[in-house]
């Protein structure tokens, strides 16, 4: 009987240890919090794993995470640097107005609810931003980039990753070599002003702009061999300047027809300027 009770105690002790969340030997858990300015600057280096940055209405910086990698941190109330050696899954809460700089090799980067400036770099990871940051720079070689919600200014660059920009942004720039670019721009009906300035370039990927142009806005689309598709409201007031060297132009927005790879027409004065250039890809224009 005594021996049975001894075994039962041992089993219960093991079970209790597991229930208390002891990390596996190959996983470190880290958690730290510091007071932080509402517009402070945080620099995060995490080569592999996942980085999730969340804006909150608290003047402090909090980091939690786990992984075989190790976390080192240093800084002040206005600037802090977080460096991971190895692989880690990081969750970093920052004040909404913070400036955030992230560098990774293969880690995916997610940013939610940060209104400050974002500078996000990855080699092979995906980048997702949800919210309304004032300024976004996002670069990844192979991963996709998605910005949702809108931003004052966004510059996105990939080599082969797809780019999706949606929301009410004012100044957009996207460039890719072989990826596709899709822009879904909200107009004033959904809280935006339409795109005031947009430049979208691809070498072999398709470029699609689907949205509303700001009054007086300038939008340029370019692809060497990918298709360019432009869908705008039928009531859009703009000067259109579409040129392809060896491709075709299809216009379903108005009755104007292209001649020798060139289509130039205006739907009214004082509107936007839309330019599309293609070497051998098709250009299509239609009403949404």
């Amino acid at each position: 009987m005594t021996r049975h009770l001894g075994w039962l105690g041992f089993v219960l002790a093991v079970a209790a240890r597991s229930a208390l969340g002891q990390a596996p030997a190959d996983h470190n858990r880290f958690q730290a919090r510091w007071p932080f300015d509402s517009d402070g600057s945080v620099r995060i280096v995490d080569p592999a794993g996942r980085i999730r940055v969340i804006g909150w209405d608290v003047d402090s910086l909090a980091v939690s995470g786990r992984g075989p990698g190790r976390l080192a941190a240093a800084g002040t109330v206005s600037v802090r640097k977080l460096v991971v050696t190895g692989r880690a899954e990081l969750e970093v809460h920052v004040p909404r107005g913070a400036r955030v700089w992230v560098k990774s090799a293969s880690a995916d980067i997610d940013v939610v609810g940060v209104d400050g400036t974002l500078d996000l770099n990855s080699v092979a990871g995906a980048i997702h931003v949800v919210g309304t940051p004032a300024d976004v720079t996002a670069e990844t070689m192979d991963g996709p980039v998605e910005l949702a919600g809108g931003s004052g200014r966004a510059r996105v660059k990939t080599v082969s990753g797809a780019i999706l920009l949606r929301g009410a942004s004012v100044d957009l720039g996207a460039s890719t070599l072989s990826g596709t670019i899709v822009v879904r721009a909200a107009g004033w009906q959904r809280g935006g002003t339409g795109v005031q300035r947009g430049k979208f370039e691809s070498v072999t990927g398709d470029v699609r702009f689907d949205g509303e142009l700001g009054r007086g806005g300038i939008v340029e689309l370019e692809s060497q061999s990918g298709a360019i598709a432009l869908r705008v409201p039928a009531t859009t007031v703009a000067d259109f300047d579409l040129v392809t060297i060896a491709g075709s132009i299809t216009n379903r927005l108005t009755a104007a027809t292209a001649g020798r790879g060139v289509l130039r027409f205006s739907t009214g004065a004082g509107g936007a300027q839309v330019t599309a250039r293609s070497f051998k890809g098709s250009i299509s224009l239609e009403a949404k």
Binding site: D26, S41, R43, P47, A48, G67, P68, G69, R70, A72, A73, A74, G75, T76, V77, S78, V79, K81, V83, T85, G86, R87, W101, A105, S106, V123, A124, E139, M141, D142, K157, V159, S160, S175, L177, S178, K199, E201, V203, T204, I218, E220, E222, Q224, S225, D241, V243, I245, A246, Q273, T275, R277, F279, K280
Partner: protein, 200 residues
């Protein structure tokens, strides 16, 4: 307290990635700013503490193996890194200037004069070659997957360049074609610059 406007430069300074001129500017600022000097001490401590962390951490995925190998090699070859980065930067400035001469700020307006086009192309070739050479010496520091991606996309961009240059040879005064050739050339330089930066 650190001056906010110097934050990025101080980080680059501590990381050792600033060019000589920028480094001198930072050092001049540090001479008169106790807050930034303290920040540099703290950043250096951070880098040192990161360096003291375990060197070998078993990766959960194969991808990290390649990255760890590159990080390991960096310290040994640190002396070569600066001039390669500088070379890449210089090449980028040359091609940037060349493309600036070719294209005004807005691609809507095209410079019609043909003067300088040949020179611009030669400058582009030189910059592209310099970046390619700089990258070749660092190639083994890139992960195999990145090298494969780079080669695949360089092939794509070279094919696009050949195609548009052939078309331009048949229609040399076509300003639209020049603009497209310049755009693809810029993409190639950007790709090479990016790969060089990742490698170093």
């Amino acid at each position: 307290m650190m001056c906010n406007e110097w934050e990025a430069q101080l980080n680059e300074y501590v990381d050792g990635t600033l060019a000589a001129e920028a480094r001198a500017l930072v050092e001049a600022h540090l001479a008169g700013c106790a807050g930034c000097r303290a920040a540099v001490v703290e950043l250096r401590a951070l880098v040192a503490s990161a360096a003291d962390l375990p060197k070998r951490i078993e990766p959960a995925r194969d991808l990290w193996t390649g990255i760890a190998a590159r990080v390991g090699k960096r310290e040994v070859r640190n002396g070569k890194r600066w001039w390669r980065t500088a070379l890449a930067a210089a090449a980028t400035i040359v091609i940037g200037f060349a493309l600036y001469r070719l294209l005004p700020p807005s691609a809507v307006h095209h410079r019609s004069e043909g003067t300088g086009w040949v020179a611009v192309q030669a400058e582009y070739e030189q910059a592209s070659d310099e970046l390619t050479r700089a990258l070749a010496t660092e190639r083994d520091r890139l992960a195999p997957a990145t090298v494969a991606l780079l080669e695949r996309n360089l092939a794509v961009i070279d094919a696009a360049l050949r195609e548009s240059r052939d078309a331009l040879a048949r229609d040399p005064e076509n300003v639209e074609l020049r603009g497209l050739v310049a755009s693809v050339a810029r993409e190639k330089v950007e790709l090479l610059r990016w790969a060089t930066r990742v490698a170093t």
